[in-house]
């Protein structure tokens, strides 16, 4: 019924426009206009240029002031403070250029509206002027490049040796976080070892894996700590995005990526800053990964030292729950080991896989 109504409305709208065209044409014929564009048209449109300029700029100003409340709060990571400052400088610059050039464009559009009794000023070029407006953007951009690269190089510089290694692992459609434990070394893992009870495919024979801990619901990190995030993914590309930490890196199957970050504000302090008692940091997936992409998130808690240690001891689980687990099976022959929980065994037929795809 609704679609029928929509359809009828569209038909009526079309007919209306067609009739309108006809009327406008008759008006033209009556007036005996010959020129395709008249002085009246020029007056109307040039005034519209002016109106659009002022209403547009005021509208943008109003919206910008109003929309401040939606923006991300102050950066909760050390490098984020630097990138925010860089962003502010960039914005200040582009807003100035934006306002000046748009005013010139629309103001000239108003001022130099056509008049049949007037001639335009023949002015094909001016090399000096062109040189000036090539060289000024060059200088401004050169300084932006230098400043931007300085910030970038500081962010991507090698992480300090004592940084805590935290693995962020993406899969359709949730995150798993693994902590490297006391030895600060992640145990080896292999995608062929993935199975129930071993979501990360950790090699249970690797000594470095023994103290690794993982969680799959809420991620905790300690304020003021140095964290080297290591990212990877199991199935498709995901992107680990911590908007409040100004941190993002793609998680790519078959390769490790990393990002060094120092969180500076605890969840509790940020709740005070934002005035929102329910505020939480978040880890989002920011690379399209399938139907539930929009639901792939994990709450992040930035704890004080005490909170973090308490949580790490009581809640995070060891990745190796059965130290006596079977040795690495030959994946070409055996299906991944299923847990004893009675779930359907995952049978893989590696030989046929290529054909089935």
């Amino acid at each position: 019924m609704t679609s029928l109504l929509v359809f009828i409305v569209l038909i009526l709208a079309t007919i209306t426009i067609v009739r309108l065209v006809r009327v406008l044409e008759l008006v033209n014929e009556l007036r005996g206009e010959e020129e395709p564009v008249t002085n009246t048209d020029n007056k109307f449109n040039s005034r519209m240029m002016l109106v659009f300029l002022f209403v547009g700029l005021l509208g943008m100003l109003y919206f910008t002031l109003d929309a401040k409340k939606y923006l991300l709060p102050v950066s909760a990571s050390k490098h984020g403070v630097e990138t925010d400052a860089l962003l502010d400088i960039n914005f200040a610059l582009i807003i100035v250029v934006f306002v000046i050039t748009q005013i010139l464009l629309f103001w000239y559009g108003f001022k130099y509206r056509g008049d049949k009794n007037r001639r335009a000023y023949f002015y094909p070029d001016n090399h000096k002027l062109e040189f000036i407006w090539t060289i000024i953007p060059t200088i401004v951009l050169a300084s932006l490049i230098v400043y931007g690269l300085k910030v970038w190089n500081a962010i991507v510089a090698p992480a300090p040796a004592d940084a805590q290694v935290v693995q962020v692992y993406g899969k359709q459609f949730n995150w798993i976080v693994r902590y490297a434990g006391e030895d600060n070394k992640l145990g080896k893992s292999n995608y062929r070892l993935i199975g129930d009870g071993n979501e990360l495919g950790v090699d249970t024979n690797d000594v470095a894996a023994r103290d690794d801990k993982f969680i799959a619901d809420t991620m905790h990190i300690q304020v003021g700590s140095k964290i080297l995030f290591v990212f990877n993914a199991r199935d498709v590309i995901h992107s680990a995005y911590f908007p409040h930490l100004r941190t993002q890196m793609n998680c790519v199957p078959g390769m490790n990526t990393q990002f060094y970050c120092e969180p500076t504000i605890t969840t509790d302090s940020m709740r005070a800053i934002t005035g929102d008692a329910n505020f939480n940091y978040v880890l989002l997936c920011n690379k399209i990964c399938g139907a539930a992409h929009y639901n792939m998130k994990m709450i992040l808690k930035v704890d004080s030292k005490e909170q973090y240690q308490e949580w790490y001891k009581s809640t995070a689980q060891y990745v190796i729950t059965r130290p006596e687990a079977a040795p690495i099976a030959d994946p070409a022959v055996t299906a991944p080991i299923d847990s004893a929980e009675g779930k359907t065994a995952v049978v893989s037929l590696p030989v046929k896989q290529g054909l089935l795809r």
């Binding site: 679609s3 079309t14 065209v21 406008l24 395709p36 048209d41 020029n42 547009g56 943008m60 923006l71 991300l72 990138t83 860089l86 960039n90 250029v97 934006f98 748009q102 464009l105 509206r113 056509g114 007037r118 335009a120 000023y121 023949f122 002015y123 094909p124 070029d125 407006w133 951009l141 490049i145 931007g148 690269l149 970038w152 962010i155 990212f231 199935d235 498709v236 992107s239 995005y241 100004r246 941190t247 993002q248 793609n250 199957p253 390769m255 990526t257 990393q258 505020f279 989002l284 920011n286 399209i288 990964c289 399938g290 139907a291 929009y294 792939m296 991944p336 896989q353 290529g354 795809r357």
Partner: protein, 620 residues
């Protein structure tokens, strides 16, 4: 101004093609030559036409239909984003099981986003824009009878048509079309287990793209050959209108970059159906590990963006070329800094090949490589700034005649500024970390590439409609169309920057999973309202377009008092463009409002000897 026929010039192509002036070669008695139509059937005239003007109209019509199709898709997903809780009963009757009970499914949401992007970027703004205007204007503006190869030109259109058909069909298959975003990154696009759209829909996407690339290359080679070889006497490279320069550079970019996309698509096809692993490694999906080993998904991204970035300029340069021509003509002033305009287009084209990495700053690419791409990317701002300043200088002290085309061309400049400036932020790797893949990016490219290029295309349609159909579009509807559209475009994309700065990722079906995004729903609703209004405004254009095609007032030969050659050809389309000899060119295309001249324009066909009062030193 009556010099057109004073001088006759027998062009080599006339001898080859048999186009001779009757005055000279009347004894041949070939009726079909020299100003008379071939005896053509409906099929050779309207369907398998080899005439560049007809092919241009075929491209335009196809592109307009595809554009409305893709726009309708965007309105459906804007309904979802603006009112995520609401059920739209009519959806089910339009999109069937994908919109069960009036609720768009998350899978089909991604499908709509993907196909909207694919159609707009490739079929409307690449095929449609270049296909329409390169075909129409290259032979007419350089003074050629037709394209270098009419047959290849025809093939180019029919490959394009097939490619559009395959893409459109893919939308209607059971599992839905390709859904991995218009960039179709593997492994998501390579593995049917990853999402329903990665099955048959993705195969059809790749087939369609291969056909499209073939079409684009056939067209591009033809454009380059025609421009290089078939210019009329006197049409030196530096007398060519900027439109032709833009089409030439665009065609070269396409020839150099599309084959790389072809390679990327082919390897993806191999990975999908022949068990290779160019892009796949270490994957566990659908409860089982895959055999694929040793590939890299990042390789695909490098190949894709090696095309993908020049593609931005393949879209934008023709629009800038059309705008340059329209702005100069309607300002009644020469384009300011003609040579600087050519130079900046060449620099942009060159740089476009060495900036692709700025799409990949956070893929784990070597940070040093990232620095290099920051440097090259920000350099693009310099020639772009020169172009903007030159446009503004062109309208300074002009005598602007506000045809609808002029409004759209100025709208393009406005968008080019707005979107170009946010590009400075995105091109900075340190800033890209936090806004990569957010709505900030969506807002940026929809303004700088989507809206500018569409406005350039619309400027072209309004300006050259009389040249294409021999009739005028209704200007008042044109004004209405322009003002509603520009207001709505800013209404949609200006607020969208703030959604991005709030940290909202793109391609999210709903922003409900994280409470921090609850506030953004207000902005999304506002955006959707503007989007729907913009969509309705395009109906004004559609009606104007189809009505005027048949019923619009008849156009005069040179309605805009323009200098370029296409307006010296008769209103009625002839096979071979000019009834007599091909016109000879004596000057550049921009002698508008020259001091001392009788009128405020001097066509390119007028020799200096006839304009003694207005000649500048060195012109004689």
């Amino acid at each position: 101004m009556s010099s057109n026929s004073k001088e006759t010039f027998i062009h080599p192509q006339d001898v080859e093609l048999g186009f001779m002036d009757h005055a000279h070669h009347g004894d041949h008695g070939h009726d079909e030559h020299g100003g008379h139509h071939h005896k053509e059937t409906f099929i050779t005239k309207y369907i398998f036409s080899q005439d560049h003007k007809m092919i241009s109209k075929q491209y335009l019509l196809t592109a307009v239909i595809m554009a409305f199709f893709a726009m309708a898709m965007s309105l459906i997903f804007r309904l979802q984003l603006g009112w995520p809780e609401t059920k739209w009963a009519f959806l089910e009757s339009i999109i069937g099981h994908h919109g069960k009970d009036g609720k768009l499914s998350p899978d089909f949401y991604l499908a709509l986003v993907t196909i909207h992007g694919t159609i707009m970027v490739f079929f409307v703004l690449t095929g449609g824009l270049s296909g329409t205007f390169s075909n129409l204007l290259i032979p007419l503006q350089v003074g050629a009878r037709d394209m270098a190869s009419g047959f290849l030109n025809m093939l180019s259109y029919w490959f394009f048509f097939l490619s559009c058909a395959v893409m459109t069909m893919s939308v209607f298959i059971e599992a839905g079309p390709a859904s991995g975003g218009w960039t179709v990154y593997p492994p998501l696009s390579a593995l049917p287990q990853a999402m329903p759209g990665s099955g048959l829909g993705m195969t059809m996407w790749l087939v369609s793209m291969v056909l499209f690339i073939a079409s684009s290359l056939l067209g591009g080679i033809n454009y380059v050959c025609t421009i290089i070889n078939m210019r009329t006497k006197g049409m030196s490279m530096t007398r060519m209108p900027l439109t032709i320069w833009a089409f030439l550079i665009t065609a070269i970019l396409g020839i150099l970059s599309f084959p790389v996309l072809f390679a990327a698509a082919l390897l993806l096809l191999f990975d999908r159906s022949m068990g290779t692993s160019f892009y796949l490694s270490d994957i566990f999906i659908g409860g089982a590990p895959l055999d694929a080993a040793g590939g890299s998904p990042i390789l695909y991204q490098h190949l894709f963006w090696f095309l993908g970035h020049p593609e931005v300029y393949i879209v934008l340069l023709p629009a800038l070329g059309l705008a340059s021509e329209v702005i100069s003509t309607q300002s009644r002033k020469p384009i300011f800094g003609y040579k600087a305009m050519i130079g900046s287009m060449l620099v942009i084209a060159f740089l476009s090949f060495i900036v692709w990495g700025h799409h990949m700053f956070i893929t784990g690419m070597n940070p040093f490589l990232g620095s290099v791409f920051v440097f090259t990317t920000l350099l693009v701002a310099i020639p772009s700034a020169v172009k903007v300043f030159n446009y503004i200088a062109t309208i300074w002290k002009a005598n602007i005649s506000y045809s609808p085309a002029m409004l759209f061309a100025l709208g393009l400049v406005s968008f080019f500024i707005s979107g170009g400036l946010t590009g400075i932020i995105l091109g900075d790797s340190a800033l890209d970390i936090n806004i990569h893949d957010t709505y900030f990016v969506v807002a940026h490219f929809h303004i700088v590439m989507g809206s500018s290029a569409i406005f350039g295309m619309l400027a072209g349609v309004y300006h050259w409609f009389p040249r294409m159909y021999g009739r005028m579009l209704n200007k008042r509807l044109g004004y209405l169309h322009f003002w509603v559209t520009i207001i709505c475009v800013y209404g949609v994309f200006f607020p969208m920057h703030f959604v991005g700065l709030a940290g909202v990722p793109r391609r999210y079906y709903a922003n409900t999973a994280y409470a921090g995004f609850d506030g953004v729903i207000d902005i999304n609703e506002l955006i959707s309202v503007f989007a729907i209004a913009a969509g309705l405004a395009q109906l004004i254009f559609a009606v104007n377009f189809f009505y005027s095609m048949y019923r619009g007032p008849k156009a005069s030969q040179n309605p805009w008092n323009s200098n370029t050659l296409e307006w010296t050809a008769p209103v009625e389309h002839l096979h071979g463009n000019w009834p007599g000899a091909i016109p000879v060119v004596h000057r550049w295309a921009y002698d508008y409002s020259k001091p001392g001249a009788d009128e405020d324009y001097i066509p390119q066909t007028v020799p200096y000897i006839e304009t003694k009062n207005s000649n500048l030193p060195g012109e004689e």
